[in-house]
Amino acid sequence: MSAWLDEALAKVAADATALRTVFPAVGRRVGRGPTDTPGRTVDDVARVRLLEAAPGAAAEMPGLYRHGDAAEKRAVLYGLSVVDTGDAGVELVADALRTNDTRLVTAAMGEYAATHLDAAAYRHGVLKCVFMGIPLAEVAGLDRRTDEELRRMLRSFAAERTAAGREVPADLLPLLTELDI
């Protein structure tokens, strides 16, 4: 993508702690425009590549998240799905789901969350996305993790919306109708 990125990839490959100073600078070095992957920007993609290139990135990710700005946090959350952090990433996902930042909540509900969150946390993550207007297409694992309790919660949400005379998001309907089959 850029000479700067090639150099940065080599640097973090040699020493994962270099991520601490490379990560914050990525946006101004490689840009922040859109990519072919919907919702992912050039800096998102570059940061995830850096995480993949750094042996021992898993140990750095909590610190990168804690001291990261919103863009850095988002990249760490995306990175959880490609770098094996065991269960250590659950805490980061939980932190992101406590925010009201749609960029972070969206990134939190990726494949890692679908695999690692317990049932209660996963359901609330999905419900939070619905509340915040995040398209459910962005949420990983709905096909296998939608259970009876989540359907109940979503149906209740839809009922509240209807009672208030407000619209029910269209992408919710397939999940609800499955209940009525």
């Binding site: 100073t21 490379v22 914050p24 600078a25 001291h67 700005d69 919103a70 925010t99 009201n100 930042d101």
Partner: protein
């Protein structure tokens, strides 16, 4: 009159101040990391503050059409507190953030050995991260402190044109001018420096390498002192171009050395981490 306030602590100010500053012509500012008035007791307290300086505060400023940048450092006063000094190890992470345009405020408060150590270490960080440095000169024993600060800057190897010595007065201006460093002046209601004294200094020493700031914070201070100084300059016969140089082009030149100044406020998201500064129900 376009104004860049190169030193103002907006975290301590209200949204009314942002509105009044914009009305007075302020379009850009730098918020240096400093003491909170109340001692910090842990490193976490610093990092939460730094996170606000690169996150929430630029967002607030953008809502009023003002571009916000910051400087990051362990301040001289708290460099004396062993509960705070470990934050030095975390600075490299923050010194690479987009909105960070200098290392600062560093320098002396009481000229202790611990301050010496933190000052030198942070000048080295400025060199490592290719950033200018903002040096606070002490309130007490100012002339001796300023002289010693110039010596430390010289020893560090940082280029003098990448350093500003701030809070200068009639007794310290000449030595800083001769050092090749930039000259910072904080215009305060009662203390440090006032508009008329500032005009006299500009008459004597010229407008080159001069930065004028309000240094407004949680104490008795006035975020419109930059504008009032511009008005006083015009009243004293300086041209509009002189005023523009002091209040805009000089700070742009100094902090522009970071390569990170972004003077168009971002097309900010309507909310930051779900928080809007607009209170009350939104429909």
């Amino acid at each position: 009159m376009r104004i860049f306030d190169p030193h103002i602590h907006m975290s301590s100010r209200t949204t009314d101040d942002y509105a009044a500053m914009h009305a007075a012509g302020v379009r850009a500012l730098v918020e240096p990391a400093f003491w909170l008035g109340q001692p910090r007791t842990s490193v976490g307290s610093f990092t939460d503050y730094f996170d606000a300086l690169v996150g929430w505060e630029p967002f607030r400023a953008s809502q009023y059409g003002i571009a916000h940048h910051c400087t990051i450092a362990l301040n001289p006063k708290e460099a004396n507190d062993p509960r705070c000094t470990p934050v030095l190890d975390l600075l490299p992470r923050y010194l690479e953030k987009d909105g960070v345009v200098a290392v600062g405020e560093i320098g002396y408060d009481s000229m202790t050995a611990a301050e010496d150590k933190a000052f030198a270490a942070q000048l080295a960080l400025a060199i490592d991260h290719d950033l200018p440095a903002l040096v606070h000169t002490p309130h007490r024993d100012k002339a001796a402190g300023t002289e010693r600060s110039i010596a430390v800057v010289r020893e560090s190897g940082i280029a003098p044109e990448r350093v500003v010595l701030d809070h200068l007065n009639e007794l310290t201006v000449r030595m800083v001018k001769e050092s090749g460093c930039w000259l910072g002046f904080s215009i305060y209601p009662d203390t440090k420096m006032d508009e008329d004294r500032m005009v006299a200094i500009l008459r004597e020493y010229g407008t080159e390498r001069v930065l004028v700031n309000s240094a407004a914070d949680w104490g008795k201070s006035d975020p419109l002192k930059t504008r009032k100084t511009g008005d006083a300059m015009l009243a004293a016969g300086f041209t509009e171009d002189d005023v523009d140089r002091v209040l805009w082009r000089n700070p742009v030149e100094f902090y522009g050395q970071s390569g990170r100044l972004a003077l168009e406020p971002d097309a900010a998201p309507a909310e930051f981490a779900g928080n809007s500064i607009l209170r009350g129900a939104r429909k």
